[in-house]
């Protein structure tokens, strides 16, 4: 890390040599992809729910927060490896989502069944967001928690002079596996095909004997379970607090629009793009500006390709 004149136009005033420079960019890109895949994982649940219900779920960040708390308590109370806690987190979160849809959102859906885009449901999800966030504030208190001794915390992998975060690496693989599993489920299983049929045309699907409300319950259940997986991947290195969902919420929306609403691969890729912009961009400018770039990218996509990277052109 010898200083050299010329080079990075950045706040880092002591400039590295070119070779180190390349290594830095590579390191930042990899880190961006790792963190971005976790963003993508968080957005995956949102895109699944949107793909089927055609409703933007504003409570998604809160579902992520609930997932993090479930993962936190599962690890604290049982002493499991964070990723083994998935055995508890996934079913709990699936049931949570299933019944959230069945008990709270479904009645509104039924009341609005003649409308193609049920806007009141969006407002209900906003209500759910506030209730969940404040409920967790009441129950768990405002303090920041993290799991002090878990086998992944603070672990770093050193590859040719680059430092890579082990918990994020786990998150990366969790994201890939989850995406593949969901894709497989939607393509290959009978239930998955029923879900896709409903998402393409709910009337036609109903005529084929598919119970659309049950499909909705399943879709929200799956989306919530995925939020739980995202929660598990964050817990080893992130803070857990009642409003943590809000930090990820907006990012999830941007990712989903970037990748194409309802697209599974798109969510993952969108997440990675944002991760790389944040990580590499921050080396050339103040971190505050990378946020501006992310939002700028979002606007550009809305102007030029509103359907996102992998979104379908026709209307839902």
């Amino acid at each position: 890390m010898m200083p050299v004149t010329g080079g990075l136009p950045t706040g880092v005033r002591q400039r590295p040599q070119l070779e180190g420079w390349m290594l830095f960019i590579l390191e930042d890109t990899i880190n961006g992809i790792l963190m971005g895949s976790i963003y993508g994982l968080a957005a995956l649940g949102l895109t699944v729910i949107f793909g089927v219900l055609k409703v933007i779920n504003f409570a998604h960040g809160s579902l992520l927060m609930v997932g993090m708390y479930v993962a936190y308590w599962a690890v604290i109370l049982t002493g499991l490896h964070p990723y083994l806690a998935l055995v508890i987190v996934v079913p709990v979160m699936f049931l949570f989502g299933y019944f959230l849809q069945d008990i709270i959102i479904k009645p509104i859906f039924k009341a609005e069944k003649d409308v193609r885009e049920p806007i009141t449901v969006i407002i209900v999800t906003t209500g759910v967001w506030y209730i969940l966030d404040n409920l967790s504030l009441l129950v768990f208190g405002p303090q920041y928690r993290n799991i002090q001794d878990n086998p992944l915390r603070g672990k770093m992998l050193e590859v040719v002079g680059m430092l890579l975060s082990v918990p994020k690496l786990w998150g990366f693989f969790a994201a890939l596996l989850t995406a593949v599993a969901i894709y497989w489920f939607f393509q290959k299983t009978r239930t998955g095909r029923a879900i896709r049929a409903t998402s393409l045309d709910r009337e036609a699907a109903s005529l084929q004997g598919i119970n659309q409300y049950k499909v909705y319950n399943l879709a929200v259940g799956i989306g919530t379970a995925v939020a739980g997986i995202a929660g598990v991947s964050l817990v080893p290195f992130y803070n857990i607090f009642p409003s943590v969902g809000v930090l990820f919420d907006i990012k999830c929306f941007i990712i989903v629009v970037l990748g194409g609403l309802g697209s599974i691969g798109g969510a993952l890729l969108g997440g990675m793009i944002i991760g790389v912009v944040e990580s590499v961009g921050a080396q050339f400018m103040a971190a505050t500006w990378t946020e501006a770039i992310v939002y700028g990218l979002f606007l550009v996509f809305l102007f030029l390709k509103p359907s996102g990277l992998f979104g379908v052109k026709y209307e839902w």
Partner: protein
């Protein structure tokens, strides 16, 4: 005849009233000469968003007044007792101003103190100045409060801009104590008013001190990933890293820096998130060796600190905080001035306050060694306390290290970070 009777009675009434009124004054005067009362108006946010800190202020001042009155009040005024007139500002400037008017005109207070929120204190001191009533400001830190050219305003706490000043004095003292040179600095701060204000101060001081600034980086407090920032700090490779952070980001930055093995010689934080109790818990041993600047810490090595803190804790259930300490000190500064003024004339009290030279007594639970006001009414010697987070056998704790007079006995700061 009947009519005249009524008028006669009315006349007698008015006459009687006209006689009795001055009589009341005559009766009142000699009576008040025996047990004199010092009336102190105290405007605090007792409800609204700052209610909890306002209440803490009130508690520590109540305790001080209780002690003073129990010890015989103001001896030079024949054992005059102090009576507090509390007024609630609700953290609203206009409410503070109105209450100051009321306290001065209706309650006829001899002194004013308060108002915790700088935004309330600022306009309220103007009211006091207009009436010539001395105003003791315990904690409102905004620089401008003592920069209005007022004659009646006296502030105990260190000014806002002194936080950065003291951080640099500390860096200087550290270099001397450990005989090691600090050449490069990195500034990392949340991108709000607070962080930017600190950064502006740091940049000036760094230029003056001849330090090289290798990184000047604002970041959004809501950032979800701090590893780009940690990398940037690592590549800038500063000797000393200065931070301004809120709680969530303080934890995240500390943990991420540990992961990326970012090791400057020293990390100096600016209170806020780093002083949040959940920071120590959530950052754990990654927080070790971080320096943090605060108003006061329960372990400052001054006589009386432990006893007074214990008394406060047993009374109200929690430790004294820096601001409560300033509020407590303010009461003893006031008593000292009253003793020397030997009068309840606001002018005499003001002049006595201006000549304050306090070096002993309960007021000296402060981290610094004397209280004296400069011509703007600012406590010249007010200084902040630097603590180091370290584990010396009782888990991670905040240990006072600076100023040297306040350092915990037997503790040697760790510098550079091993």
């Amino acid at each position: 005849m009947r009519e005249r009777n009524i008028w006669w009675k009315a006349y007698v009434c008015v006459l009687a009233f006209a006689f009795v009124c001055p009589m009341a004054f005559l009766v009142d005067r000699p009576a008040s000469a025996q047990p004199k009362v010092v009336k102190v108006g105290n405007i605090l946010p007792l409800s609204g968003p700052s209610a909890s800190v306002g209440q803490q202020n009130k508690y520590s001042q109540d305790m001080a007044i209780e002690e003073i009155n129990a010890a015989g009040g103001i001896k030079s005024l024949g054992g005059a007792k102090i009576t507090m007139f509390y007024a609630d500002s609700e953290s609203k400037p206009e409410k503070g101003v109105a209450e100051a008017e009321r306290l001065i005109n209706t309650e006829k207070v001899h002194l004013l103190t308060g108002c915790w929120n700088s935004a309330v204190t600022y306009p309220t001191t103007a009211v006091a100045e207009r009436y010539g009533i001395p105003f003791i400001v315990p904690v409102s830190v905004a620089d401008k409060i003592t920069e209005q050219g007022f004659k009646t305003v006296f502030r105990i706490a260190a000014k806002d801009s002194w936080w950065t000043r003291d951080q640099f004095v500390f860096i200087n003292d550290l270099q001397k104590e450990f005989n090691m040179k600090v050449g490069t600095l990195a500034f990392v701060y949340e991108n709000g008013d607070w962080g930017k204000g600190f950064a502006a101060g740091w940049n000036k001081l760094a230029e003056k001190g001849g330090y090289k600034v290798v990184l000047d980086e604002p970041y959004p407090s809501t950032a979800t990933d701090m590893s780009p920032l940690a990398q940037k700090i690592k590549r800038a490779n500063p000797d000393v890293l200065l931070l301004v952070s809120n709680a969530a980001d303080a934890i995240l930055i500390t943990n991420t820096m540990a992961e990326y093995k970012v090791k400057p010689k020293a990390i100096i934080a600016s209170g806020g998130g780093h002083a949040d109790p959940s920071f120590l818990k959530a950052a754990g041993k990654n927080a070790q060796h971080i320096f943090d600047i605060v108003e006061w810490e329960t372990d400052v090595n001054k006589p009386g600190v432990q006893e007074i803190n214990q008394k406060f804790k047993s009374k109200y259930g929690y430790n004294l905080a820096g601001e409560s300490v300033d509020a407590y000190i303010a009461m003893y500064v006031m008593v000292d001035a009253l003793e020397r003024a030997k009068s309840l004339d606001p002018k005499a009290i003001r002049d006595a306050l201006a000549k304050t030279k306090l070096t002993k007594g309960p007021a000296m639970i402060a981290g610094y060694d004397a209280i004296e006001f400069d011509e703007t009414g600012q406590n010249k010697y007010a200084a902040l306390v630097m603590v180091q987070i370290n584990d010396i056998g009782k888990g991670m704790e905040r240990i006072s290290v600076w100023p040297k007079g306040a350092r915990r006995t037997g503790y040697k700061p760790v510098f550079p970070i091993p």
